[in-house]
Amino acid sequence: MSISGNGSGPVIEYRNVFKAFDIPVLSGISLSVEDGEMVALFGPSGTGKSVLLKTTIALVTPDRGDVTVCGESVYFGGGDVIERIRRKVGYVFQYAALFDSLTVFENIEMGIPEDILKRMSAKEVAHRAWEALDLVNLEPQQVLSKLPAELSGGMKKRVGIARAIAGRPEVLLWDEPTTGLDPVNTAAIERLIKQLSDDLRVTSLLVTHDIEGGLEICDRVCMLEGGHLRFCGSPEEFRVSSDPVVRAFVDREAAAVALDTLEIS
């Protein structure tokens, strides 16, 4: 079963994706993300949300199935296609994954595709880095020359986002961008995600455990559980769903009940 949105055509399409490590993690996931759409992916820890996200740009290879991005097959297209797809996709890592030995400026510079970077003057690169930092509400003058170790957790996440958007991607993949942040920073990052998606008109897939935040900023939400997509629909549908596993994610009381009665993998 393929679950798709209502836009003009899928930008990302997961086709029957299977992946197992020691145990099956993804058991035939089919999901489409339409152009300009923002989809949240919820689910218990360890159910393969990040794995699914990583299959989008071939950081993890599925055992079976395929993923297409902008109509091109990630796994049947060859190395050039993967390279092309990675240029179109910005990936925000859970813990930012900034390059330790590089300054903030050099980190953001790395986000610009190599061939474009070669054609840009130093001034243009600096402008692009400045612009990216501005978009994530960081003061460029204060952080450009700093090393990641000199930044706070929230700042690192923002620099990670700046790196992901520096290449002006068509698609943004967010892997738990608010994990480990305090509520104020979480709200700020969520607002930023929404603002970037609107301003840059990118297609976004957001993996998060912050259900309220995800429901607030996303057009559609999906729930991954036990290797399958358990739910896919609008935030409103998610809120009123009678599925006990979905309910467990919507309110705390249901979560407590689920803890005693359900086996959430």
Partner: protein
């Protein structure tokens, strides 16, 4: 099911376990060999296509080559002294003293210089490369490189391997020179062997090929150390503990490889 021999007990159980262990080890060795082969190929292709950033090679040359000079020379100096002292102790009253010149020069150039420089470099550089890349792997920095369309082999592996291949012959040459000099000075003070007599002995058994042999060892060791270090680093899994474990395995792997390669050199190139 009592009385029945299970897989895990009895003589057949032992044999099963033994062969399963051998099969596992063989698979493991094959896996390492295959991945190392691919890494060598990948680095070779990157070099031929001029995809290795020159700035990174220069950075690595500084940190691998220049910054290792002091420790390599200290080790080489001590090796020269020890070789001279022990040689003197063993040869005293048995052979003419000028033979010491040959013993020190040949020991340092053929064996001590390249091997001990390699051992020092394993500790200083090999372990560092594995820990560095391992940390990058577990903190998703390697994935981040792929995600921005960069190839970690071109950016991280190739500069380190090239810098080490360039640095090692130079470091070994310096180590040889310092080892011989300290050996000579030590012989002068402890055995009363003058420098002229020392060099007379050294010239008696000298072959120019020995220097080539020493540099060839340096080149091979210089390639083996970073290749293993990078390979192990990129295989790291399991957080901080995984980095520690992989670094330990890497150091053992590099040390054994250097000793095995060293043992292969005389039959291949001296006889």
């Amino acid at each position: 099911m009592s009385g029945q021999s299970t897989w895990a007990s009895g003589p057949s159980g032992f044999a099963n376990r033994f062969f399963a262990g051998v099969a596992r080890a063989a698979t493991h060795v094959g896996e390492h060999a295959g991945q190392l082969g691919l890494l060598v190929w990948h680095i070779g292709v990157s070099c031929v296509r001029l995809r290795v950033p020159r700035r990174d090679i220069m950075r690595q040359l500084y940190s691998i080559g220049i910054q290792s000079i002091l420790i390599v020379l200290v080790a080489a100096g001590l090796i020269g002294i020890v070789t001279s002292q022990q040689g003197g102790y063993q040869m005293q009253s048995q052979l003419p003293l000028y033979v010491m010149g040959s013993i020190v020069v040949e020991s340092v150039i053929l064996e001590m210089g390249p091997v001990l420089t390699a051992i020092v470099m394993i500790g200083r550089i090999g372990a560092r490369i594995t820990a560095e890349l391992g940390t990058m792997k577990v903190s998703e920095q390697i994935d981040a490189l792929y995600s921005v369309g960069r190839d970690p082999v071109e950016i991280l592996a190739a500069p380190r391997v090239l810098a080490m291949i360039i640095s090692m012959p130079l470091l070994v040459s310096m180590a040889n020179l310092v080892g011989i000099t300290t050996g000579m000075i030590s012989a002068q003070y402890t055995l009363g062997l003058g420098s002229e007599t020392f060099f007379y002995g050294a010239r008696l058994f000298w072959h120019s090929y020995d220097m080539f042999y020493s540099l060839m060892k340096a080149l091979v060791f210089g390639a083996a150390i970073p290749l293993i270090a990078v390979h192990m680093g990129l295989r790291t899994t399991g957080g901080a503990e995984g980095v520690g474990r992989t670094t330990t395995h890497s150091v053992v792997f590099m040390t054994l490889t250097i000793l095995v390669l060293d043992a292969m050199f005389p039959p291949l190139f001296l006889n």
